[in-house]
Amino acid sequence: MIVADGIGVLRGGRAILDGVSLRAEAGRVLAVLGPNGAGKSTLLRVLAGEMAPEAGRVVLAGVAAGSWRGVALARMRAVLPQAASLAFPLAAAEVAALGRIPHAGTAEMRRDGEAVADALSRAGVSHLARRNYATLSGGEQARVQLARVLAQADGPEARALFLDEPTASLDLPHQHAVLAEARTQAARGLAVIAVLHDINLAFRYADDALLLAGGRTVACGRVEEVLTEAALARAYGMLVRVTENPARPGERIALAA
């Protein structure tokens, strides 16, 4: 479980985040939404213990974020950042295998090969394993990075998964496949926090949502309570219609009005 209380981050005298609080429970998917520059990625970094906030505190699995030792933290949570390029050519399988670094020297290390193969298959990139990462398309690279993160989270100490725009640059089926995998990881008992831009993916796959704008919380709670027409209008400054999804009765859908 991840608890954040009154998070504030300043950058160059400007508040990037101001008084943001949330709880991410084990077994649930929490979507973080908001317009560009709302502070979503910064919040993810703070929650993942990668960055210390100027104000407030974060508790990860019962321990203050600042008290985690690097390797233990890396076994407890995995982070998928937005796309990045490699300094040197590696095969896709080698990239995924880097996720096993935190498990080096533990009993888990025996499972390295198995964990990497499983992660590649979950991310749908087993067939790309031997390919040079640099020659893959943007979407394929993103899925290889997801495989790396799944390989990292494959261990008994794993408690949380942080995904920063995991669906960016993916085609429609792969967007759904990646978030279905996020649900599978939640079902395993992890707390999953994902930054999303697509409100409808949040309706489909998230249990809870945090809506940010200008570094402040617009709404936070269960997805249907957060992503309302009023809250979305306040966050995005744009009229959004929320109605029942004709393709999936009982599920909501948001349409730009």
């Binding site: 993942a48 990668e50 690097g70 390797v71 233990a72 933290l73 890396a74 076994r75 995995a78 982070v79 950042p81 990045a84 490699l86 300094a87 040197f88 050519p89 590696l90 095969a91 080698e94 990239v95 880097l98 996720g99 670094i101 935190p102 080096a104 031997r130 390919r131 040079n132 990462y133 640099a134 020659t135 790396r148 990292q152």
Partner: protein, 346 residues
Amino acid sequence: MAARSAGLIAPVLPRAAALASLAGLVALVSVWAIATGPIRIPPMEVLRALFGAADADATMVVWTLRAPRVVMALLVGGALGLAGALMQGLFRNPLADPGLLGISAGAAFGAVIVIVLGTALLPAGLRPHGPGLAAFAAALAVCLVSQRLATVEGRTLIATMLLAGVAMNALAGAGTSAFIFASNDLQLRDIMFWTMGSLAGATWPKIGVLLVSLLPLFLAAPLLARGLNALILGEREAGSLGIPLEGLKLATVVVVALGVGASVAVSGTIGFIGLVAPHLVRMAGGADHRWVLPASALLGGGLLAPADALARTVLAPAELPIGLVTALLGAPFFLALLIRSRAATG
């Protein structure tokens, strides 16, 4: 074939087997280098001499003249190759090498200062080693200054360190030029040794000291491989994989400074090995540092030993500076590689 273009040997040979083959190749080249010289000794005779079963003349030439030079070439080349691989990994840049941070130029400058100003300030016992000690100290000083300049609030900014290195390089180069301007003919010959490199001074006692000075570099490398692998992804990703980044940066820079300082102290500055060896190694077997680091050390030695054999035979009895040979062979070779890889990627 797609995997080959990424330079992945892994499917062909396991890492240990690939390293063993490379080591075998380096051993063969070393025997050839010992066999090569004004008096040619057949390779089999070299082997007999090494195991003490040859006649006295051959044994003398092999053990006191040729073997020390070849062993020194293996150590210096190994240190430069490994240091280059570490720098490239740390800076996430295939163009980084020990020369880039100003370590080599700084070390040469240190030696040149002592050559021109004299060793009067040193205790008598250390005077013959004055330039070497100064080279070693200057290499460390350059590294520490760059590191301090680039460290803000406990975090070392890699790009800033690179820029600081460029400035240190220019500064050391200018300093060396100024001292060359002020030197006499005798000093000038000495200075040439440091700026163009030579393994002519190889003796077993020197090799002993060199080996001890290189231990931190060779022993630390296996411990740094995992962190440098994570760094291929980026600094943030490496951090989130639990790599202690600041420790990794400091340890890498310090062992490189020690290793390059010790190498320059015994052989002057020798270019291109640190740049080319890791490149070739990555092309042949991929970018995993558990392969790149040991293989660059092996290949660095395996390139420098035959280069030195050429340096001492091409114009025999005169000797070419080894730095000249590595640059003359290395630069066109490197350009050819670039053109080939450009053609491959279209």
